[in-house]
Amino acid sequence: MDFFYKRSGLIVAGLIFGVLTAVLAFAGNPANMAICAACFIRDVAGSLKLHSAEPVQYFRPEIVGMVVGAFLIAIATKEYRSTAGSSPMVRFALGFIMMIGALVFLGCPLRMVIRMAAGDLNAWIGLIGFVLGTGTGAFFLNKGFSLGREYDTGKAAGAVLTVVLTLLFILAISGLIAVAASEKGPGSMHAPWILALVVAIVIGALAQKTRLCFASGFRNAWLMRDFTMLLPIAGIFVIMLVYNIATGNFHLSTAGQPIAHSQQLWNILGLYAVGFAAVLAGGCPLRQMIMAGRGSSDAAVTFLGLLVGAAFAHNFGWAGAAAAAATDTTPAVAGGPALAGQVALVVCIVVLFIIAGVNIQKKKAVVVKQVPDTTASEA
């Protein structure tokens, strides 16, 4: 298990993650969206009728699986720890904002990498925003930004999200609650649920052991010129690139990419918001789910922010639309966010700066003191 803490382990984990992603891609998940934390949380929100955008409603087993996988491996390796108390409502807001940004770009950072590996140049351009966003977050971290400590809480509290998601999934799959399920569009495209669940459980476990996080890879590069956490991301990219070339799914272009748009300013700003918020929140959307599985109620609250953000985005028209070519009966659609979405995203970015500025600790949160050196051996 300690193997995954080493560089070689991180590369191997990335390759395994890439293979699992390719399995889901092959098995029927939407194009260039084998796994997307943001899109899939949005689809779950739709299935629970928190929004009514018909093409994107499906109770994605991947969301349940990733949280459950992290939970199970944490319990098995005695790393489960029930914690809470680090500015939960701020984290809710950060989750909300990450979702708004992701839905403007049409993907979380993981989907950004998957799209990049398919030749989607819109994602390569969006990467500029993500890098700048993580850099902005890193700037505030250096200034002393902190949301404070989380503390141990009752053991069961940290398992609530895992249990609730599992129960909801059982109710949904068995038809005991009437969840919505898209008949057309991305929500109708999915791998068989058992495969999706099992693959996601493995992914969740792997992500918990390797501390995989798309924000940390770039953030640590900004903070310390440390590129270690980019290794698993590179592994995923390489496998998906090979998969796409082998299956004829690689097309180098901005136009004609599935579930994407070429409004580049908004691709950049959308991922800028995601990168900035992810650094302030201590992890990207996928990492938040993993931390929630590990027992963090703060990360669970961030997950709720993501879920509610998805509902708002589709209820109020803030999400970006996919570009579409003209057909016999319909004109071409440029896609991207409508004015409401543009305004919402800009407001979100302003709010991020406020959150960042207000939470700079004048006295650093950590206690630093001189103590007798009890580790020194006797002369």
């Binding site: 720890r81 902190s146 949301l147 992890g283 206690v367």
Partner: protein, 68 residues
């Protein structure tokens, strides 16, 4: 010895605060206390990257990483 209590702090604060202390006090022994394994690994690797001796001890659910 300088002790950095980074328990309960979000990634990457334990790493950052340790790095700041290591930079400010290059000749001191620095001991960081963290409360999760990811922070433990991040701080441990920081010490190893700086070619220091790193010792990790677990007390309860917390980890004490001593960097010499």
């Amino acid at each position: 010895m300088i002790q950095v209590d980074a328990r309960g702090l979000s990634c990457p604060e334990p790493l950052l605060r340790t790095k700041e202390v290591l930079d400010e006090y290059p000749n001191e022994v620095v001991q960081t206390i963290v409360s999760d394994v990811n922070a433990r690994e991040n701080v441990k690797n920081l010490g190893l990257r700086r070619r220091k001796d790193v010792e990790v001890k677990q007390e309860g659910q917390d980890f004490y990483i001593t960097i010499k």
